[in-house]
Symmetry: C2
Subunit: 648 residues, 2 copies
């Protein structure tokens, strides 16, 4: 152990004995540097083309985390071991490494030989995007089109898998003409497509389908409104008092306490969320961990330049890596607090996203509860409260699309999760300028002159490790069944038939107009009245993938056929399309785990919910989309003895 | 014509030549007095027990309304005739009268002899509720139970129809013990039920099932939190400028202009809503009229004291009549403007609901649109805007339940409609204090000691006369169909198959996970690109009635089996369960009109959408419910040439 290591170890120890620290705290920049140092000073440094693809906290076991959090004398307790998971590529292979932070040592190392790859590094994407400009053929083709090469941007797109035997990492580039616009995606150069071998970082194929389709014009494409500053903060609001505290990554607000983490893949991660129950005078567990697990975005165009656009945004790019620096007063209100995000770059060194997450109180104009009572003679009693909630927000901009991710905590005990889609459509250049010219299928909608907004889906899958009042929970379907009656003037009514779901196979659900409530309950805990304590999943507009089951993108994201899955908890099962999502073949992931058909009765279980959008674009989506939202709510159902909004 | 009439006519003429007036303005208090005067001074005054059940503007024809609104020299135009519809009861019969306001005369009068009745007057409900206290039997029964009669409130409940031949109006009373609580509904006196003949205003039957079940205690039932004032306005907000204008009942705000009406039945009514299209530099029509048409609330308990609770809240009580005086800073924010509501009482005289409607700008923390562009070398461009919208709100408290009705207008061109349910559950007393004591069916959930929250539904049906860019519209289903492909590495994709719905029969839709977009388009208007201009219906959580088709409440509200109906426009077809909803038999209403199967292609059409809730209560709904929301959005789809949020 060299001197630097000793320093790092000591500083780490100092850093993590403070009680504001949490065993699930993301890796600090110091720790990321420490990991970089450990690896680049080890035998691994001799690997050709050593690049860091993923560096993240290796979560301590749940029992250790909970033990430490519940201990009242934290300074006398040993903080759960800090370990890190590292995925590197070197010598054309994928290496999985576990680092022991305390001893600054490599605890384990093995080769990953299964299907799929870790996400390409940002630097690899960047290098790939620059390759065409070094190609004389590309430069010639561009000149032939009369284009100014300095106004061209090429974007790398992941290419999925279509049954072929995959032997290397590759991306395809599509290029855009920036001249006269800030809206790069609005001017696609159709007919040029460049396949890049990421391993050798060389152009493998330059496909030129000619200049049959010219580049759509720049007029009316800007989203940067010149001169006029939007009215970002139309009201001046002063808070009476700061309603929440951020200590390290620990958030406390009214009756909620939780931890906000961040990594390159998921982006924002909510952990150990507990709600204070005033009636019991105790903190009660609700969710151990919640985050976006995967995002599947298949485009609906089978033609040669589009068929492969079947993105797994989280696994192939990373929501954390796509996190933007939030703009105060535009992305988050005046009263927001911010948390920076850190991750490792391709060289292993720490990279910072300033203001990656914001946290703010939402003073809504919704009414949390109210009642007017006229039944008391001579009196009209009205009472109620306006809604105040706490929002944790992150925005991931994956190329053209901006995903706004909100976690909203309510004093009623609800957690509301919302995804907003905005940004720019992925568009295809076309010769059409009017709908009546279209005779053949265009796989989308003419959204602007010479531009088709291609049809596509978004399936944002949430990992929700609910631990309602403890680890062991059950998944319950409360089915509404119509009963016929004879001995009543009524002929029918519905009642609720509760079904505790036994196994993972039975837990796959599609929500439609089926009259059914879905609950996660703790069968070991009851209210004073004897009802099982639980939380209910309430969804908004439902949508699932309708692609053919044997279509390759669907095989890779087969979980997207169901909105709801429930699996037995396994610390390693977190990424719905598998960890190695780039060029994956569907051999890992939620559908594989779920079909193991484990028992899920009175077990530590994980709820997976997919928020879906079918997007058939319209002209209003151009040049930039008005936000389209969808989401769900986790709402207490017999968790509290009574409405917690009312003070006792 | 006597002198008073001349004065009224003159004042009316003065009142309505001002351009701030709108042909759909609700009746003013002066006009209501005028109507009362006309009728009570006519031959109708000799009718025994003359009572006023409904007094409302008789809408001018759409063409006249639109003509007047579009005329630039309103002072030279004749304002559309003011007429009123009046429904009175007298001599045990229902009379329908049209009043010509200009001449202060009765224009038409005939008897209504069909099924059902107009809603009982507030005074009739009140008289009925007082009857038990004059009954010596009731007083004895109450004494026997050891109750203090001065602490009892009896509420009248409408009784529906169960196949019997209906010959008179009747209600059933349930009584509650107020002692020690503000939450009257929390202490039901189970086993007492009083049938009242409204025509003779006499107790017809006093059912006593004995004292087997005692009254639930008062402890923990209050919603009026003593001492502590809720934090109604946690922030102090100052607006830079007033963002909207209220002139009479005309609202102007940013790119929206519309009219806000009010009547006893629907409550708030949005009319002639137009959006300003900056690209075309013109106002464009979106919705001619929108309001709640009916609300069906069947309880799921076939026992003798509950089976009949199958309410049609709008037709039997009236959302306008149930409108509460909104409480500033609790129901509406600091920057709200208010509109009072007026209607006729049972004696025909004007009654005022102060602050029945509020209108305010919502400065949300949602992001209206944003994008971060990293594709321009050396630059990161981020732009966007926070959401500001305009909300029109009313709260209808129908006994125990409070319905929060929001119409939200967005600068993107969207209209978002939301219903919030809060207030107090309808509860049944029970001897159970613990869930494990329950062996038989209880038709609900034990929500507090000795109290069952009975299962029920809420179906709030909206009348939406969309006139997208003109009267003649079509209803289009954009169905997403999976296509199989061979000449591509892909095996499938979906495309959009548009189906213009031909007739009313084909327009009934249940939305589930079916991948389909529902649109109202104007087939006569196209964007410059050639797309049909339209608005899309986007729904939240779907729910429809699952009662048996032959069950009587379902026969009365048979439209509730489908979320979506589209009908040909007919001015008289506005109330989904028929106008005479009290004790109705299903012979009138949306299902009857819709089954006429008229053509709806390129016609003036009306869209009906039902927002549904299946409510299986939980303990958190006690003693007062946290608001439960559901709704829908009308979102422009190729209505504008481009996103109207971006300035051109």
């Amino acid at each position: 152990m060299n001197i630097l290591m000793i320093i790092l170890v000591v500083s780490f120890h100092v850093e993590f004995t403070n009680s504001q620290h949490h065993p699930l705290d993301p890796l600090t920049p110091t720790e990321i540097s420490q990991i970089q140092h450990i690896i680049t000073n080890s035998y691994l440094s001799s690997l050709p083309n050593l690049t860091f693809h993923f560096v993240d906290l290796h979560e301590p076991d749940k029992t250790h985390v909970l033990q430490w959090l519940s201990s009242s004398h934290k300074q006398n307790q040993s903080f759960p071991h800090r370990q890190a998971n590292v995925v590197i590529r070197g010598g054309g292979q994928t290496h999985e490494i576990t680092i022991e932070m305390t001893t600054s040592s490599i605890a384990s190392h093995h080769l990953y030989t299964g299907d799929g790859y870790p996400p390409n590094t940002f630097n690899e994407f960047l290098q790939a995007a620059r390759l065409p400009f070094k190609s004389s053929r590309f430069n010639k083709l561009v000149l032939k089109r009369g284009l100014n090469v300095s106004e061209i941007t090429c974007f790398p797109f992941t290419i999925g898998w279509f049954g072929e035997s995959v032997t290397k990492r590759a991306v395809r580039l599509s290029c855009f003409y920036r001249e006269g616009t800030t809206n790069v995606f609005s001017r696609p150069i159709e007919g040029l497509s460049i396949l890049v071998d990421i391993e050798s970082m060389k152009i493998q194929k330059l496909l030129d389908r000619g200049r049959r389709i010219s580049i759509p014009g720049a007029e009316g494409t800007d989203f940067q409104t010149s001169g006029e500053t939007p009215d970002h903060d139309p009201i001046h609001c002063e808070k009476n008092k700061k309603g929440f505290t951020i200590e390290g990554n620990n958030i406390k607000w009214k009756n909620w306490g939780f931890h906000v983490g961040f990594n390159a893949r998921a982006g924002v991660i909510i952990s150990t969320a507990s709600v204070f129950d005033g009636g019991k005078n105790e903190w009660r567990r609700v969710m151990y961990r919640g985050h976006v697990s995967e995002t599947f975005v298949p485009y609906m165009d089978p033609t040669s330049e589009w068929y492969y656009r079947t993105f797994l945004d989280v696994g192939e790019f990373g929501f954390g890596r796509s996190a933007v620096t939030l703009v105060p007063l535009m992305d988050c209100p005046r009263n927001a607090g911010y948390i920076d995000g850190y991750m490792a770059g391709g060289d292993g060194g720490p990279q910072k996203v300033s203001r990656a997450i914001c946290i703010f109180e939402r003073y809504d104009v919704d009414i949390a509860w109210r009642h007017t009572e006229v039944g008391i003679p001579g009196k009209v009693i009205t009472n109620g409260e306006t809604e105040v909630s706490l929002v944790v927000r992150m925005v991931a901009t994956v190329g053209n699309y901006d995903y706004i991710l909100d976690w909203e905590f309510k004093q009623s005990g609800s957690i509301k999760v919302k995804v907003g889609l905005t940004g720019v459509l992925e568009m295809k250049a076309t010769r059409y300028t009017k709908a009546d010219q279209i005779k053949a299928e265009i796989y989308g909608q003419l959204v602007a002159s010479n531009r088709i907004g291609n049809n596509h889906d978004h399936f944002i899958t949430y990992y929700l490790d609910l631990d309602i009042d403890g680890d062991d929970n059950s998944f319950v379907k409360s089915n509404l069944k119509v009963k016929k009656v004879k001995a009543s003037p009524r002929k029918s009514y519905w009642n609720v038939v509760q079904e505790t779901v036994k196994t993972e196979d039975e837990a796959r659900v599609n929500i439609g107009v089926n009259a059914s409530e879905l609950l996660v309950v703790n069968p070991n805990k009851k209210t004073k009245l004897g009802n099982e304590v639980g939380y209910r999943l309430m969804t908004w507009q439902p949508a699932v993938s309708i692609l053919a089951d044997d279509d390759y993108p669907q095989i890779r994201a087969s979980y997207s056929k169901y909105q709801v899955w429930v699996t037995a908890y396994n610390k390693s099962e977190r990424w719905a399309a598998g960890f190695y999502a780039d060029r994956s073949t569907g051999k890992d992931g939620l559908a594989v785990w779920g079909r193991r058909n484990r028992s899920i009765v009175n077990k530590d279980i994980v709820l997976w919910y997919t928020v879906g959008f079918h997007h058939h674009p319209c002209q209003e989506d151009f040049p930039v989309m008005a936000t389209l939202s969808n989401g769900f709510e986790l709402r207490p159902a017999n968790f509290f003895e009574r409405n917690p909004l009312l003070k006792t």
